[in-house]
């Protein structure tokens, strides 16, 4: 069964034989997690997330031969996705690695039942806050890992996270007041 084949075996087939079925199996196994990750980073913009997905998987396919399996395949491809996101932010002039000042929440966040919608709150945060919050509180990266991946000091990541959490709470508080 294809589903039982390891990522490494599938990757080997792609590299050695250009095996389309093996690539599709790898893609279908990991694309949903990578797509969710990218959707969160870009604040729910499906068009941007799809473009980033394409860039990510093309890079991954081209770089498979050089991947030494020092980490899980998903970790590796998620790292590529994060780099593509950083590149997009740089092209569009979005600041994701600098500490932003205090941010005022002015938008109500609620689902049909008037409850807190954390996903929506993440979408509404400024990119700099959202990025560090997603990487730390959703993906579970440490500040050292975030610093290394975003090219910032881990202290900067920490400060950014503090402000991001405050901003998130303000956003959710607006919701609670209005619910």
């Amino acid at each position: 069964m294809e589903d039982q084949t390891s990522d490494r075996e599938l990757a080997h087939r792609v590299v050695a034989h250009g095996d389309e079925a093996a690539f599709r199996a790898l893609y279908r196994r990991h694309a949903p997690a990578v797509y969710r990750f990218l959707l969160r980073l870009v604040g729910g913009d499906a068009t941007e997330a799809e473009d980033l997905m394409q860039e990510t998987w093309l890079r991954a396919a081209h770089g498979l031969a050089g991947f030494h399996w020092g980490s899980a395949f998903r970790t590796w491809v998620t790292g590529i996705a994060l780099n593509r996101f950083r590149e997009l932010a740089r092209r569009k002039g979005r600041r994701i690695t600098e500490v932003e000042g205090e941010w005022e929440a002015t938008v109500a966040v609620e689902d049909a039942a008037g409850r807190i919608d954390l996903e929506r709150a993440l979408e509404l945060l400024p990119p700099g806050f959202r990025t560090v919050l997603v990487l730390h509180d959703v993906e579970g990266l440490t500040h050292e890992e975030i610093g290394a991946r975003l090219g910032i000091a881990h202290g900067t990541s920490k400060s950014q996270l503090h402000r991001a959490r405050r901003a998130m709470r303000k956003l959710l508080a607006v919701n609670l007041e209005m619910a």
């Binding site: 095996d19 797509y35 068009t47 503090h162």
Partner: protein
């Protein structure tokens, strides 16, 4: 990613004020970890990888070797041998001539043939083209919007009158509206019973009528 996702961080204590509460930790843990990407995206990626030679459409079965396994590819010489030079030049001339002939042939094809070629494409291929074109359309519009914002800020900062750049941006906006109208018209033709599409088309037609000074907008034939 790190394995330390249980809220216990390696980076030491943080301010209590910004530590996640148990409820917040639960809320984060409950966030969905996956989202299914559109099917067409997979096709788009696979097609791009086929085109650049990374994937071979014939190598569909897992474990089946493709025609040229990477490890067994014949070694290439980095230098041309003497006899290869005239042969290469001759081959280049033949290719050039063939290209000119092909270009001439393509240029003389009738529009009817071109339409026939488009129609012969399968629906999935056309859907893929629409997605790609739509993506490019939205990206270009986003870039135009950013350019507009930058130009406006610059003018406001310097107290300048609208520049050539602003004129170009307006042209881009008009082109975008025209394309939007064309797309709505085709959608309405494809699904005449779709009330939402008809409403969009009606709004765009009214706008075009206003901008054309009251002339009816349906004079244009869309292919």
């Amino acid at each position: 990613m790190s394995d330390t996702s249980d809220g216990t961080r390696e980076d030491g204590a943080m301010d209590d004020e910004v530590e996640l509460t148990p409820e917040e930790k639960t809320a984060f843990a409950r966030l969905p970890t996956e989202a299914v990407p559109p099917d067409l995206l997979e096709e788009r990626i696979v097609r791009a990888l086929r085109q650049d030679g990374t994937l071979r459409s014939g190598a569909g079965q897992a474990g089946k070797a493709g025609p040229w396994p990477a490890q067994e590819a014949p070694p290439r010489s980095g230098r041309l041998r003497a006899w290869m030079v005239p042969v290469s030049i001759a081959a280049s001339l033949v290719l050039f001539g063939a290209g000119v002939a092909l270009g001439h042939h393509m240029g003389t094809r009738t529009m009817a043939e071109a339409f026939l070629a488009v129609r012969e494409q399968d629906a999935a291929g056309l859907a893929l083209r629409i997605q790609e074109a739509g993506s490019a359309y939205v990206s270009a519009l986003a870039a135009l919007g950013e350019l507009r914002g930058a130009a406006t800020r610059e003018q406001a900062g310097k107290g300048l009158a609208p520049s050539h750049a602003a004129h170009g941006i307006e042209q881009g906006r008009d082109a975008a509206l025209g394309a939007l109208y064309g797309a709505a018209f085709e959608l309405a033709r494809m699904a005449p019973g779709d009330a939402d599409v008809l409403r969009i088309l009606q709004i765009l037609e009214e706008r075009r009528t206003r901008e054309l000074g009251g002339e009816p907008a349906r004079n244009m034939v869309w292919f």
